[in-house]
């Protein structure tokens, strides 16, 4: 199955940051049509019928998420999550930096769909360039009359606020993001209440990923059926896959869901000559590896889950036989331990402990029992955490511990040989 350009159409060919170029290519027409001709419920219907699922990681059906908003509370917010920080993911930054108007139009459509009058976009602190480009695009759109009061003479008002984060992974967790957006410490909130009931400033709030919202534009243009006709049974439409690791042409590739894992590797140029595939991490740093025997699985939500992993944010990392999986595991666990907010015990203490043991292993100073400890503690903390961060530590570590035990055990043996008695 080839690469299909939907959101990525025009990127690298035209200057989509220019509002005129974007409009020439049909930009903001769906927004105008929605406000002039559609009811908010129509947009919600389209989102539901298209089968669009959240592209940020959890894969929650978008229309369903919107429907949780209590009807009796008219003051509500839409927050676009652009705190893209999952290891291996780099699609949202590309979208706001290369196609900012598309993202903005998606935010506008989403806001209309949930009938909110103030939307926010929270952009990761490191994305300074993306922030500047998006802010400029927002200014242009406001001048062109696409954002503001009484849009297209309909009486519908909508304001969009851009907020930069300070570069914390945990602020990508939706309640951590809301706290940070409110100016508080970026820590996940205790749920329930969920954001749909009590979110930003205590009001019902929908938090959607950049890519999710952007897909609303083609869905409005071409119809829910068009989107739903692509993909597999419960994974509809397209997905931007951020392929990285040991492939010849790493990058963002937009494919129909259901394209096989092997095809995605091939799209990215395949492995380097003479190398063998060891593992693929299909859904970002939080996902477990899949292996050679699973390469012909369709890349979609349910098949990745069935394989013991997840599609996540579509961060697709390929590992060939040059990989030191102890180092790889240490690198990821160190990331999670460093990014832990420290609120809850398992993530704060467990992540840090695992990191220190792995660090010893990396340096060949393992002791007997380390391998078992890594399995026991990473498994033990999973499911006990306040948010998903702590539960993200185990999958990759466990999958490579079980697949490549010799790589880990070798570091213990080495220690026994080298440490003088």
């Amino acid at each position: 199955m080839p690469v299909t350009k939907v959101l990525t159409a025009g990127i690298g060919e035209a200057d989509l940051r220019n509002i005129d170029v974007y409009r020439e290519r049909g930009g903001y027409r769906q927004w105008e049509r929605a406000v002039r001709e559609l009811k908010p419920g129509d947009v919600l219907d389209l989102a539901e019928k298209s089968g669009l699922r959240g592209r940020g990681g959890a894969g929650f059906p978008t229309g369903k998420k919107w429907s949780f908003l209590p009807a009796e509370k008219p003051l509500r917010y839409l927050v676009c999550n652009c705190d893209e920080a999952e290891p291996g993911t780099f699609k949202d930054h590309m979208l706001i930096a290369e196609a900012p108007h598309l993202v903005l139009e998606g935010i506008l459509l989403g806001s209309y769909g949930i009938e909110c009058h103030h939307a926010f976009i929270y952009i990761r602190g490191e994305f300074k360039r993306g922030y500047e480009i998006f802010s400029a695009a927002l200014d242009e759109a406001r001048k062109a009359g696409f954002v503001g009061d009484d849009l297209f003479g309909s009486g519908f008002n909508l304001e969009v606020t851009v907020q930069r984060g300070a570069g914390a992974y945990i602020c990508g967790e939706e309640t951590g993001l809301l706290n940070s957006l409110e100016g508080k410490r970026g820590e996940p909130r205790l749920k329930p209440p969920f954001p749909a009931i009590e979110g930003l400033y205590g009001m019902p709030t929908v938090v959607n990923n950049v890519e999710t919202l952007a897909y609303l534009v083609p869905i409005l243009e071409k119809g829910a059926e068009w989107f739903a006709s692509v993909g597999t049974e419960r994974s509809k439409g397209y997905k931007i896959v951020s392929v990285s690791g040991h492939v010849q042409r790493p990058g963002n590739y937009e494919v129909a869901l259901g394209t096989t894992v092997r095809e995605i590797i091939d799209i990215a140029g395949g492995l380097r000559p003479g190398r063998n595939l060891m593992a693929v991490q299909p859904g970002g740093g939080s996902s477990a590896c899949i292996f050679e025997e699973q390469l012909d699985l369709p890349y979609d939500y349910e098949n990745m889950a069935k394989a013991g992993s997840m599609l996540g944010s579509g961060a697709f990392v390929v590992f060939d036989d040059s990989t030191d999986f102890v180092k790889a595991a240490h690198n990821l666990v160190r990331f999670f331990a460093h990014e832990s907010c420290g609120q809850c015990t398992p993530c704060r203490e467990g992540g840090h402990w695992l990191e220190r043991v792995l660090e010893r292993l990396v340096h060949g100073r393992g002791v007997s029992g380390d391998y078992e400890m890594l399995l026991r503690v990473s498994g033990g903390i999973t499911g006990l955490n306040l948010c998903a961060l702590g539960d993200s530590i185990e999958p990759f570590l466990k999958s490579v511990l079980l697949r490549f035990p010799e790589q880990f055990r070798a570091r213990v043996l080495k220690a026994k040989e080298t440490v003088p008695v």
């Binding site: 704060r348 203490e349 992540g351 006990l384």
Partner: protein
Amino acid sequence: MNVNLTIDGVPVSVPKGTWLVEAAKTVQQEIPVYCYHTKLGPAGLCRVCLVDIEGMPKLQIACNTPAAEGMVVRTRGARVEAGRAMILELLLVNHPLDCPICDKGGECDLQDYAMAYARGNSDVVDPKTRKPKAVDLGPTIVLDEERCVVCQRCVRFDDIIADERQLVVKDRGAHDIIATATGSPYRHNFTGNVTELCPVGALTSKTYRFKSRPWDLNRTQTTCTQCAVGCQQFADVRYGTLLRTMSVENDDAISDGWLCDRGRYNIGFYASPDRLTQPLYRKGGSFVQIGWDDAFALWGKAITDAIAAKGTPSVGAIGGGRLTNEEAYVLQYLFRKIGVANLDWRSGRQRQATPGANGGALTDIELAQAIVIAGESIEERAPVLWLRVRKAALRGGATVVHAATPAEAVAALPAGATRVALVWDGIDLARGRAFADAFAGVAELSTYVASEQGNARGAEAMGMLPWSGPGYAAARARGRDAAGMFEDARNGSLAVLSMFGVNPVRNAADGAAVAQALVKVPFVVVSELFLTETADRATLVLPAKGAFEKTGTTLNLAGDLLPVNAAVQAPDGVLSDLEMLLGLAAQLDVDLPRAEELDATVIEHMAHAPEDFGFGDSRFASDVASVPEDVPPATILSGGGTWRHDPTLATLQVETPSSQPVGATA
């Protein structure tokens, strides 16, 4: 509406929405917690309160899971135990395990739960993280960051109870620490509570650090008498020394489970070497130590002689606000029995302590839509009452009004407010009356007088007023009030003045004038713990017991009758005011009432506030036309009267915002 569920096979019926951790208590199932606290609510941080709920794939935290109809909950079982053991193992990874030198050892939740639920061994081979130890957090507290389990109880207390927001979590992940947001010392009126909330040995009181082991402490529950709120507290005594006071968590009606720093830390003076331990008699220009028999004989003779020579108006007694009800009753009984009517408790600026017909319970404040403060800041005069005002404001959305005039206060009320609490300092009668009149139309008005002396209201109920006897019954003969007695003293018509636990030279509106007046009184008796400014001008000084050394009852500002229990033995040679009055009664040949005539029922009966007066009743007006004004207010922590004798409290004075007047001692 109740829901039915089973916990460990036992059927439970609890109100809908009850957290499982509370529901489990109803069937005596212990669920370990660190971050959860009944008064702070769930936080979901420590993750130790795991329970197994049928139909749920993962273990759930009992602190944030509401009980639901038909729920089947297990607080035991392999899955729960494995989860709990994992959490405890993790909490101990970087914990210093210095229990042998930790103050919390023996009453530590980490120690207890680790013993009960954790694995007996550890897989940790790496060094533990190092964090700052013995951090000087502020004047009252030392913090050991390594022992901290980051439950954030202290942070949440500071936020949602004390409304101070000084404490925060700094840094991130495994390196996070507790600190003040600005780095400045942690200080406000309620800091000590965080040492009790801390489930481990991270936050410790400077006054108690390295002093004792919990199993060496003898615990007595009593009432704090340092202000008129009447908080219940535990007095912990080791080998005869009072080492600390602790709050009583289920004391919802009075303290709501909190103590102020004055009540908690102003206790060191009991063991002060400066305490009086023998009666002092002025001979020539200086004091000589005498025995109690001589003291009673001199005292009795002075009174008898004065009455014989100049009649009963030449004798007076002041005190009651710092005595127990029993002592105050006996005091007025004895003096009225010999015909003396010059009796008053009001040694300071305060004129009235009983609110009258609309007096409310402390818990009524939480229900109020508006709380009007008429007079001096109650944060200083009645700190824990102020905590309840904050609770009403933070959780109930009540409006707190500090207004200069009744008109301003009325204007600041939320529209349609029908439940109003009015708190007055009892000093300016006209002001009190004006506020009470302004709010007379409020449907549910509850009034309070925030007295400074702990048992001021009890003294009034027991009859230590010149115009009323016990139970507010009109006295047969009207005497002079305290200000009147000092005027008589200046005129030379007062012969014997007996004072109990009062220091008017320091605290009266014009203390200097009192000092001059006392010189003209031939025989001044002062019962005190220390040689105060007033005692220093006495003829006879009697060493008295403090509230932790005697037994009786006290009446708080809301009219609750509360027990005072002896927790610690007084120094040799020191008597309670009651014992002194017994000695004097023997000299004067008066039979005092027996104990059973003065039991709690009798006192409770007398304590009923009369319906016929309110704030600023004219009967409380001063005998003396003009009382000098513009006396500089004394500093906070002075309500106990003896604070300056406590060396540990020298650093404990808290600055108060200059916009609010500060409480003075009475």
